[in-house]
């Protein structure tokens, strides 16, 4: 975009949702399901988690009603990954003739992504950008980000340098403000600017901008107790390959793969080949896999990483060390999802500090 227009104020989300739906997008955003904030298709802002907030800590997640914010919670188990890199997707079908690739990339607007989620998308772009199917799904996204107001006790985006304010990689970004409740909205792309211009909006005042800066300041301060020094971690983790700490972590880790499933950057997949019973056509399905599964490294009937310690070492070392070798950046964006959803409550930040 040539010039950054001033942010504007929106009083409600419904006009945005409607405009995106008229624009041909399925609108996906947060909603409360079974006591958890999940992404789902939304038809109106009434389905958003207004007045809900979360309490997250290692191995624990609880929602409770508090305040008036729509986006007053931290990372949910879902992320953009579900839409750019679906849990299960058919790659092709083959019925004698040419092999037909399949790509399902419906135009999708994602509402409520955080700065860490945008950073995770950028990480994924570098890992999976060579895949035409990924590029098609990625290009079909319209991204509405929200500046994080209430990081949880497991968040550490400030340590990873990815948040809490959305800086780039969105079409629209909102800062949710209270008293009175309103959204300060800014565009990050031409099409974002067009949508924004067509919505009912008011001009913002310096006080609105100051209130938005306060949101980010408060959020940053909340993560201060958890801040750690990233410098040197790549080399330190690589040097710890034979550390006894891995065995100790493995004594708690259930190798359940929850951490890799909720992680917005974890990308590993496997394929399932089979034949469609209805018409006999051969087909291939790609689905998420995890370096924690026993057979992940199978070679001649035996896995290379047979022990839990080796599998945990692979996961954490990839995020903080070998990812840098491969892609020039960390594979972790500091969202804390893997900490919250680990049934054993293993906190990778604590484990990293023990390994250094």
């Amino acid at each position: 975009m040539d010039k950054q227009p001033n942010p504007v104020l929106l009083d409600a989300l419904d006009p945005l949702i409607t405009a995106l739906r008229i624009g041909g997008f399925r609108v996906v955003g947060p909603t409360v399901r079974d006591g958890v904030i999940r992404f789902a298709e939304l038809s109106s802002a009434a389905e958003s988690p207004t007045g809900w907030t979360d309490a997250q800590e290692p191995g624990r997640y609880r929602l409770r009603q508090e305040g008036e914010l729509v986006f007053g919670y931290a990372a949910s188990p879902d992320s953009a990954k579900r839409y750019t890199h679906p849990p299960r997707t058919t790659l092709f079908r083959w019925d004698k003739g040419p092999i037909e690739p399949e790509i399902d990339a419906p135009p999708t607007a994602l509402i409520g992504l955080r700065a860490c989620d945008l950073a995770a998308l950028a990480v994924q772009d570098r890992v999976l950008g060579g895949s035409a199917a990924y590029r098609a799904r990625r290009a079909a996204l319209f991204l509405v980000a929200v500046d994080c107001a209430t990081p949880s006790a497991v968040c550490f985006c400030t340590s990873m340098g990815t948040g809490p304010k959305a800086e780039a990689g969105f079409d629209l970004a909102l800062t949710e403000l209270s008293e009175p409740h309103r959204f300060l909205a800014r565009a990050g792309s031409e099409r974002g600017a067009e949508i924004l211009a067509a919505l009912p909006h008011r001009a913002s005042a310096p006080a609105d901008l100051a209130a938005a800066a306060d949101v980010t300041r408060t959020a940053t301060a909340r993560m201060e107790p958890r801040r750690f020094e990233l410098d040197g971690v790549k080399e330190q983790v690589a040097a710890a390959r034979t550390s006894p700490v891995w065995e100790e972590i493995a004594s708690r880790c259930l190798t359940c793969a929850n951490c890799t499933i909720v992680c917005p950057t974890c990308f590993c997949t496997t394929v399932e080949d089979g034949t469609d019973l209805s018409d006999g056509a051969a087909e291939r399905v790609e689905r998420w896999d995890s370096c924690f599964t026993f057979g992940f490294t199978e070679l001649g009937g035996e896995p290379v990483r047979a022990s839990g310690a080796a599998r945990y070492r692979q996961w954490l070392s990839h995020k903080f060390s070998t990812w840098v070798d491969q892609f020039g950046e960390y594979g972790c964006v500091g969202c804390g999802r893997c900490v919250t959803w680990c049934p054993a409550g293993i906190d990778l930040v604590e484990e990293l500090e023990r390994l250094r």
Partner: protein
């Protein structure tokens, strides 16, 4: 749109059952020409409806296409071994880093193969045999479990014109008169000019490490020993994550790597 995970139909032009409990197929695209390959590269071969596995390219067929040797190890390789001439399979690739043939120009070359490791080395051997003047002394060391487990026996006889060939087996039969035991013993027996030697090694991981260590002990620099790593692979594109070995995606940063890079990684158990 061609999609990188979508195989291209190839027809089985010919099929030969080897003595060594493997099957050698020549595969040609059902339409058009197959892409060029370099020694050491592999393709992902798809048995329709069953699965897809990495298989090295062992050469070009007499009328084009890829020659590939497959041993029945599990579900997919068994299905591929059962396939008949005229049948269709899917192929993606070629993928992976090649054996660097330029790196050994002007040097003595040792090729060391353990078992099926001879399959990816066949194009290396043929390249060396085709241009003997380009290289110094050529040595081929082959290790096999049994005498009948030695791959490509007829070609071995032909290669003997250019190579000093030594074969060792784990389990000799009544007729066997050659060496018995590890391929590293062969390394210890041959004359090596360490400063002008380059080695291409492929076989089971423990065989490759033992062979490379034996060469290093004889003074060959680790950077002049090329190995072909084997890891579980689902995509060949660096996308599925399965083949990682420390910083390497074995499918794109390998399979061929030099031992100076591989040794510190292979040394760590279960990396």
């Amino acid at each position: 749109m061609t999609l990188e995970m979508t195989p291209i139909p190839y027809r089985v032009r010919s099929r030969r059952a080897d003595r060594a409990e493997s099957v050698t197929l020549t595969l040609e695209p059902a339409e058009g020409l197959c892409p060029t390959f370099e020694p050491g590269q592999f393709t992902m071969i798809y048995a329709p409806g069953v699965g897809e596995i990495p298989i090295s390219i062992s050469g070009r067929g007499r009328f084009g296409g890829y020659v590939q040797t497959i041993r029945a190890a599990g579900a997919v390789s068994r299905a591929l071994c059962r396939i008949e001439a005229g049948d269709l399979v899917g192929v993606r690739g070629p993928y992976g880093t090649p054996f660097d043939m330029g790196a050994s120009a002007g040097m003595d070359v040792i090729v060391a193969a353990g078992g099926l490791g001879l399959a990816p080395l066949r194009p290396v051997i043929r390249e060396l045999a085709a241009h003997p003047g380009r290289y110094g002394r050529l040595t081929l060391l082959v290790g096999a479990r049994t005498p009948s487990g030695v791959l490509y026996p007829r070609e071995l006889a032909r290669w003997a014109r250019h190579f000093d060939i030594r074969v060792t087996v784990d389990r000799p039969d009544d007729k066997w008169q050659g060496p018995v035991g590890l391929i590293t013993h062969l390394v210890d027996q041959i004359a090596i000019g360490p400063r002008r030697t380059y080695a291409y090694v492929c076989g089971p991981e423990i065989m490759m490490r033992a062979t490379a260590d034996a060469l290093v002990r004889r003074g060959v620099p680790a950077g002049r020993i090329a190995l072909s790593l084997e890891r579980n692979m689902k995509c060949g594109l660096g996308h599925c994550g399965h083949c990682q070995l420390g910083p390497l995606f074995t499918c794109v940063d390998g399979p061929v790597v030099t031992y100076d890079h591989a040794a510190p990684l292979l040394e760590v158990p279960q990396l």
